[in-house]
Each structure stands twice: as structure tokens, then as C-alpha cells.
Point group: none
């Protein structure tokens, strides 16, 4: 899957790039509208992530020109908080979805996946690890047939873990996926949230083996080692 990012803030562009590459996407980045438009017209991408505010040619204009040139690649528009009008304009110009800054990487990934229509989990949108299940549509979490209530952050963390079952995720990876890209989060915060999750999904189920594992020096893992 090939992705093009057109975004002038290098920090954001590169953090998205790195994140998507870890998810096995091939990513190109352009830091202004002109270069981006050029790449989008001449290369073949599966998704284009497009910032609204751009030097040389702005995002709405890039969008318009692509559609005019019969490029129908799905476009995910990035907008800052105040640019609601531009957002509407963007969608009118032919964007397929939008995301308000600042966003968590996991959210972006979900949109990109939606746009590439690549259902990661074949059975609808239910992630499963042993007897734990998470429905990404209804946000329902269950262990066995017992329902579990989670806060928003707890849920985001659990979803990220469950999308990578059996794989060790470092605290840094977790911070980058679950929190906004401009959040300044201590590693200890991750430890605390892991604690909260354990209190809800492992501690009350004494008979069953714990699902969340600490791998000292490396990170955390949900489910059995693959």
C-alpha cells in the first residue's frame, strides 16, 4: 500500500511517515503543495493525506486539481482546529474524509485503513485475544460474556494492544499511537494505564491466565507470545 503525505510541518509529516512505515505502508512525503501535486499526478498512491495549509498551492486547490485531472485516489484532509470553513470547502473540493489536529496516530491509522477499505479483521470489526473481545464499532469490551467499562484512553490503549496481539510494544510506540502527536507524556503514564487495564481485564478474572504481560526493558504485550 502506497501513501503520499502532503504536509509542510515536518514534525507531523515525519512522525506520520514513520508510524505508517511501521505498519508496512510505503510512504512518500512532500512538504509543499506544488511538489505534492506533482507526485500525486505522476505516481500511483492508494491514499493521499493532505494538509489544508500549505505553501505554494494550498490543500483545497491541490484537491481540486487532482480531481479535475481524473485522479480519484482517496484523500484524507488534515485541518487545524479553527479551519472549519476550509474543511467544508475541502470536502466540496473532493476530499473523502478529514481529521482535526492534533490527532492521535491511531486515529489517523483507522481513517487510512477505512479509506483503503482493508478490513484488518475479517469478522466485521471485532478484535479478539483469547476470551477478550473488543468491538470497534460499538466500543464494547467483554471478557468471556462479562461486559467491561473503559474510559476513552483505556479503550484507545487496549485497542492498540489488541491490534498487535503477541507483539511487544514499547512505551514510546504506545505514546506515539495512543496520544496526540503534540502531547508530552511521561513513560510512567503508560505504566499507570497498564495498571488500570489490568485492574479491569485481568484482576477480576482470577481463574483465567492474565492477558497483559510486562516484558522488562522492552515494553508490554497482550496475549501469548507468537
Amino acid at each position: 500500500m502506497r501513501v503520499l503525505i502532503i504536509e509542510d510541518e515536518h514534525k507531523i509529516a515525519n512522525s506520520i511517515k514513520r508510524g505508517l512505515e511501521q505498519e508496512a505502508y510505503a510512504v512518500d512525503a512532500a512538504y509543499d503543495g506544488e511538489t505534492g501535486l506533482d507526485l500525486a499526478l505522476n505516481e500511483d498512491y492508494d491514499v493521499i493525506i493532505l494538509d489544508l495549509m500549505l505553501p505554494k498551492i494550498d490543500g483545497v486547490e491541490v484537491c481540486r486539481r487532482l480531481r479535475k485531472n481524473q485522479v480519484h485516489t482517496p484523500i484524507l484532509m488534515l485541518t487545524a482546529k479553527g479551519q472549519l470553513n476550509d474543511k467544508v470547502e475541502g470536502l466540496n473540493a473532493g476530499a473523502d474524509d478529514y481529521l482535526v489536529k492534533p490527532f492521535a496516530f491511531a486515529e489517523l491509522l483507522a481513517r487510512v485503513r477505512a479509506l483503503t477499505r482493508r478490513p484488518r479483521n475479517s469478522i466485521g470489526s471485532i478484535l479478539t485475544v483469547e476470551d477478550l473481545s473488543l468491538n470497534t464499532l460499538t466500543f464494547e469490551v467483554k471478557r468471556g460474556d462479562k461486559s467491561i467499562e473503559l474510559s476513552k484512553k483505556e479503550y484507545a490503549l487496549l485497542e492498540y494492544l489488541m491490534r498487535n496481539p503477541g507483539r511487544i510494544l514499547t512505551k514510546d510506540q504506545i505514546i506515539n499511537h495512543v496520544w496526540d502527536y503534540d502531547a508530552d507524556i511521561l513513560p510512567n503514564t503508560v505504566e499507570v494505564y497498564i495498571g488500570y487495564l489490568r485492574n479491569k481485564i485481568d484482576k477480576p478474572f482470577k481463574g483465567r491466565p492474565p492477558l497483559i504481560h510486562t516484558v522488562r526493558g522492552f515494553g508490554y504485550r497482550i496475549g501469548r507470545h507468537r
Copy 2:
């Protein structure tokens, strides 16, 4: 592949230089911003490693001026621990990645490789020596089908050995690759860690031939002599 290092601390600059040269990079070093900028503008590099704190012209400014002059060479920014704001500034000025000091050489090498889009070693690569395997994505280490638990340093050492199977690595090379550049490590420490690894990957597998070999007077080697 040509690399330019702009770093005023000679000790660091030279240790990076030596390390990269061993990996077959051609390396130039500049010890202040002015000289560095000059070289970067007039020569052709594949990556620039740029310290933030520099005499004459600081790193952020070097970065900004390069981008302004249409030099798009990937830049890896080096920052000290406390300089988080500067880091953000650096990325906004056009750096592509950053590394917090002090770092292990192996980490720097990984970033440089990522920036030069060299062999994709980041996603799911499995290193193998005889019946020993190491998965760099999941950090899983196995001999035969038996899983082996390693500490972080043990893992880093084993990874370095396994990236150079059949090759003799001196204690100095090992120290430079596995430990932070400012760590002051005795050669004996390497002997101790080799001992730890043997306890875990050779001793418990009595029937099979040992994989870690001492080459008296030279260093250590994993796997058969090539």
C-alpha cells in the same frame, strides 16, 4: 554513501566518524556550524548528522538555511536531554529525525539506514545463526523451539553479534556499538555479558555445539567461521 557530521564535540564526532567508516560510509566532519553549512551547500551528501548546539551558527539555523537553499538531504538532528523545545524547533526547521544524547552507536546506525532507505531491517526481520533465531520486531529469541529471555543489554549484544555472523568482533567494537558513546565501559564488562549470553544460549543446550566462540587475542564470534 556519503555522510556529513556537524558536531562541535570532537570526541563524539570522531567516534561516529570511525563507526560509520567501518560500515563503509564515506564521512566528513565539521566542528562548527559555519564550516558545516559551507560543506553541506557545496558537497553532495546522502545524510547530514547535525548537532543542535554549535559554535558560530546553531543547528536549527543551519537546517533552516539548507532547506532555504533547496538542499533536501535528509537531516538527523542530535539533541541533548534538556533541549526538547529546540528539538521541536529543529523538526520544524526541516530535520527528518532526531536522536537524544547520549545514544548507542547501533541506534544512530539504524536511523542513518532508515534515512538512506537502505535494507528494510525495521519490519519483521529475523536474524538466524544455525538453530538460534532473533526477531527484531517482537524481540523474541529462540534456540530450536525453546524461547529465551534476555535483558536489554544482553539482547543488544546478541543482536550485534548476529548481525555479523562468522565475523570476529573485538571488545572495542562491541563497546562502541552496544553502549552509549559516553559510557565508560571496561573490556571486562563485555566478558561478563558474553558469559551471561553463554549461560542462556549455549549452556542449557548441551547436546548442540556452542555458538559463541572466543578468539583469543582478537574478540568474539558467533557461528561458524566464514
